[in-house]
Amino acid sequence: MVRKLMGGKFVNTAFCIFAPDGKKKLTRVGRSPAMGFGVRQSADPDPEEVKKVNARVIDAMYGIAKKYPPQANLAEAVVVDFHSFEQALNVSSGDQRLLVFAVATEQQHATLKRKMQKVANHPDVIGRYHFDFSSSTDVRWSEVVDGDQAKSGIFIIQSDEFGQKGKVLAELSLNSAADSIRAVLAVENKKYAASETRKHYGKHVAKGRRTGVKYEDAMPWGEDRDGDGKIDPRRQRRRR
């Protein structure tokens, strides 16, 4: 999708606002919201310029939002799901949020997702956790997670520093009521918040390099700025 938006190029960041149909573009495509809205900024902007650019972008976003007032109850919003458990674990680590992972049969998913709306969209919960539902590709999920695990249930998982392993903090039955799930989440999130500090991006990456962390998935990492369909070779560091 990034390639399609960026004229065949594959780059680190891409931005666009789409109409609710997911097809019509409401802004230009750019590598940042400012570029998408056509707001110019210098190559090395000072804090005052950044503030002004951000204000113009926010104004433009309000302008679009006014044209599209919500037409449905936000308490019934679709609950987030990931492509895979591995992705959920990594993103939860990156965002430093607990992961709520529901392991159920495919037949149970529709009912479970409806029930989880009452959990995920609650004001005490929204934006604090990630949610994922097991799929056929997640059969080996328990191999990267420590702690007791039943064959099915709702697992509250803390992802590790590099998002490749996890720990089960609490486990609930699939039949648990929404308010019971929220209560357990609140307890675990409070403990988690007290025990963690925000990662420092630069230190995290440096530690990962020192300790040999290597994350790979279906997509190669890197950029294809010339749009030839191949990831560009990494630039060599100059020796001092």
Binding site: G127, Q164, N189, Y201, V213
Partner: protein, 66 residues
């Protein structure tokens, strides 16, 4: 506005230039959809536009960071 950030694997900004998120640990942050399908489903349901942002949950193969 429904927010979608697609997790992609690509080279990011210089890591040394980036620090820590100022967001409170355990606090409420951006609610984002991690798949295009779920974002479009919610956008159609609520008739809200989609803020599409591609990002990577790794830097040069080092996972666990945005």
């Amino acid at each position: 506005m429904a927010l979608l950030m697609v997790s992609v694997n690509a080279r990011g900004p210089r890591p040394t230039d980036m620090g820590a998120s100022p967001q409170e640990m355990g606090g409420s942050g951006v609610v984002w959809y991690t798949t295009w399908g779920s974002a479009v489903a919610e956008a159609k349901r609520s008739q809200r536009p989609i803020f599409f942002m591609a990002a990577a949950a790794q830097c040069g193969g080092i996972s666990g960071v945005f």
